[in-house]
Amino acid sequence: MPDTAISLQALTKFFPPTRAGWRAFLQPFEKPTLPALIDISFELRDGESIALLGANGAGKSTLLRILATLLLPTSGYATIAGHDAVSSPRAVRRSLGYHAGSDQGFYARLTARENLLFFGRLNHLSAATARDRVSQFAGQFELAGSLDRQVRTLSSGTIQRLSLARALLHSPSILLLDEPTRSLDAIAAASFRHFLKSHVMQPGKTSLLFASHSLAEIELLANRVAVLQHGRLIALDTPAALKRQSSASTLEEAFFCLTGHAHNSPAPEAHS
């Protein structure tokens, strides 16, 4: 295992413009001209946690999806656990846990347990290990009462917790979380952050790259914060250093200052 969990070098992503009408037929062959990420370079060290902070459309999810091997970069390199995301996607996926931050992605007619076991086994856990982990996470994620219910009967927040459990089930060394507490109520969100901090990150084995609009979450979980604006990395430092650089007393103020918005202007969507 290298010292660097994730290494990005000049990572750039352009999307093709969206077409409507008969031209939609040519969509798959359109040239990518819309920039989503431009020349992103940074490293996530082993056991480190970096938060991606930026307004909607800043490129946070695009970056996470490239690392999860769901998107191909237009140029540049992304190396995860020593493997190139483009040329060795299966090797990359061995080290990754990915949570897309939505309450989708489960088989609605299967129970929560059947879903978790299915995805755990597809990640090459043995049947016994998968069963043990499911029981363990059921306790930690307060899923015990929901495990044997069909997913279609579960609340959005419960499915969100289920999705987080799925991302962690095969003990990945790198976690990619896209707005992990988006659908959780305040208590569940706090409980989840505490779980991440104490159970996932404390042993120092798991590296975390997560996108969030919650500045409280970022301050609690992130060692460093990567601020993205219009697809560009405009700052990367510890929360304390970012505040110092922008002479701000809070991370929120620092974010507004770095992105060039007055503190009271409504433009960015980050909120505490």
């Binding site: 798959p28 091997t69 769901l70 996926r93 989708q104 992605g105 088989y107 299967l110 059947e114």
Partner: protein, 271 residues
């Protein structure tokens, strides 16, 4: 290889559990098969004549001929539909991306997702034939069962390539199934489904010879009705294997290229 088959089993079990959660459609399908079989029986009685019997390649009359044609086309339909329906369901439910971030290979995801639908279609074919044999005199005494199983398996391989090609189209263009439209359309005329290919004009017989369905149907009718030995169906089986050898790798390569393209355009989860 063991991991590959274990993954296939996981997908099969997933689909079995999902199917078990809906009970009534299965029972309705069994009843529907009875109505379908009865329809073919009475149409056959209506059109049956000594002249018609002479044009048929095997014994059993027009009822057996047309029933096999119909149920086998159902098999083709399933092969063409299964891959893109699984893909569409996975995309719409959001599970596609989560499957693609697991350590499971793309061939295992594709083959695994098709396994249960194929098994269910095979069962449906068996139900049609069973109704035919129980109530309408479908002759089973001349069937060569090992040959029947072999023909089903090899046909499945040949048709799967077409199904994967069709799924590639869906991945890129989000709607439509041109392989199904073309092949089912051609096969209903030049595949020998409801009438023998021998009655077609020469130019249509040429298309029939290019169609894997023609060989699959010939082999299946021979295996079920023709009192043949296994080696007598080896010729159509060899041609079907040739189709499979071309279409399966072509389908997999096309699907991988389509997946790469959608990962590049960012449209993997788009509907």
């Amino acid at each position: 290889m063991t991991a590959f088959f274990r993954e296939l089993w996981l997908f099969f079990r997933r689909d079995l559990y999902i199917a078990k959660s809906y009970r009534s459609p299965f029972i309705m399908e069994i009843v529907q098969a009875l109505f379908g079989t009865a329809t073919f029986y009475y149409v056959a009685r209506f059109v049956e004549s000594p002249a018609l019997r002479q044009t048929l390649p095997q014994s059993g009359g027009y009822f057996a001929f047309s029933l096999i044609g119909f149920v086998f086309l159902d098999y083709l339909n399933a092969a063409l539909d299964t891959f893109d329906r699984s893909l569409e369901e996975a995309r719409d439910s959001g599970t596609l991306e989560h499957l693609l971030v697991t350590q499971t290979s793309l061939p295992a995801i594709l083959a695994g997702s098709a396994l249960y639908p194929f098994a269910a279609t095979t069962l449906r074919i068996a139900v049609y034939i069973a109704w035919g044999a129980l109530f309408f005199g479908f002759p089973l005494d001349s069937a060569n069962w090992p040959a029947v199983v072999l023909v089903l398996l090899v046909s499945l391989l040949a048709f799967s390539g077409l199904g994967i090609l069709s799924a590639s189209y869906l991945l890129l263009f989000k709607r439509g199934n041109p392989a199904k439209w073309l092949l089912l359309g051609v096969s209903s005329i030049a595949g020998g489904m409801l009438f023998p290919v021998s009655i077609l004009p020469d130019w249509l017989q040429f298309f029939a010879r290019l169609n894997p369905v023609t060989y699959a149907l010939n082999a299946m009718r021979a295996a079920l009705l023709g009192s043949v030995r296994l080696r007598d169906v080896l010729h159509p089986l060899a041609i079907l294997l040739l189709f499979a050898a071309i279409l399966l790798p072509l389908g997999m390569l096309t699907f991988a290229a389509a997946l790469r393209r959608t990962k590049s355009t960012g449209t993997l989860a788009h509907r």
